[in-house]
Assembly symmetry: C2
Homo-oligomer: 142 residues x 2
DNA sequence: TCTTGACTTAGAGTTAACTCTAAAAATTAT
DNA sequence: ATAATTTTTAGAGTTAACTCTAAGTCAAGA
């Protein structure tokens, strides 16, 4: 029913240090304390951590995550701000995924290139493998 | 034929400060200097910057990018290391794209959720929109 | 009860990647 | 020729996000 900071650290892969740091930064205003001052995490706190990891994983700063949490704490008057925030994050994420796709193409080109010259030497790579030359043009332009 | 640091800054979106910093860190060992000490960037230097941005964009540290550049400078004896490095980066990138896809699902869920309660209030969201409840289960588990 | 390991706090230290400053030299525009 | 802009260097400062330390408190097992 309640988890110690160490148990949560294990579950989430974050360190106890980091969890305390998040709390200090205002990212975990829900976590209760036991009579003697120990943190007691609930399942719902774990859900919050999942969301925090999600937003962090899409490049949101802890400061902006805190803004969202502050809005949440403020109640229904901030529903629109929260929705808009997720919409902005979705756009950012789409842009990010497109970027990663482009990066993937460059890396695939490099892998093909190195594989080819390791197998057959670097002289006349493109004559031997014209697809590689076409790929280069596509990936690096010009 | 040759570009000043300011011109390169404009082209790449990096600042001149950042470009000098990259050079200091050993990421641009190709950039020439004019007789009077000004940096002169070539088109091939711009290609290097494209690759650096690609690797940085997939989460590689400047230190690891430098390692790659050092291998490149060392010549053909490091072809395998370089290939393996790109293969590792590809795996990392695939993992990253999967993660982003999962994050996207969570964000889509939140957008659907907030859109729904902004439109119809928060009471009985899931009764009114059972697909949302199913989505929640799928996205957040349990 | 004793011991061992987990937890507490405040606060200091670390790391990566910039970001800026100042003073001088080079280049470009008028 | 003069003024304005750009670039140079070394080195200091900043920021985000941890990461660790110390000194003490709490909890569980033998």
């Amino acid at each position: 029913m309640g988890y110690s900071i160490g148990q949560v650290a294990k579950k989430t892969g974050l360190t106890a240090h980091t969890l305390r740091y998040y709390e200090k930064e205002g990212l975990l205003p829900f976590v209760k304390k036991s009579g003697s001052g120990l943190r007691v995490f609930s399942d719902s706190d774990l859900d919050w951590l999942v969301l925090i990891e999600c937003l962090k994983g899409t490049g949101m700063s802890l400061k902006d995550i805190k803004q969202y949490i502050d809005w949440y704490m403020e109640g229904d008057s901030t529903l629109n701000q929260r929705l808009e925030m997720f919409k902005r994050q979705k756009l950012k994420l789409e842009e990010q995924m497109n970027q990663l796709q482009k990066h993937m193409e460059k890396i695939n080109y490099k892998i093909a290139y190195y594989t080819e010259i390791i197998a057959h030497g670097s002289e006349g790579v493109f004559e031997r493998n014209p697809e590689l030359a076409a790929e280069r043009k596509r990936v690096y332009g010009k």
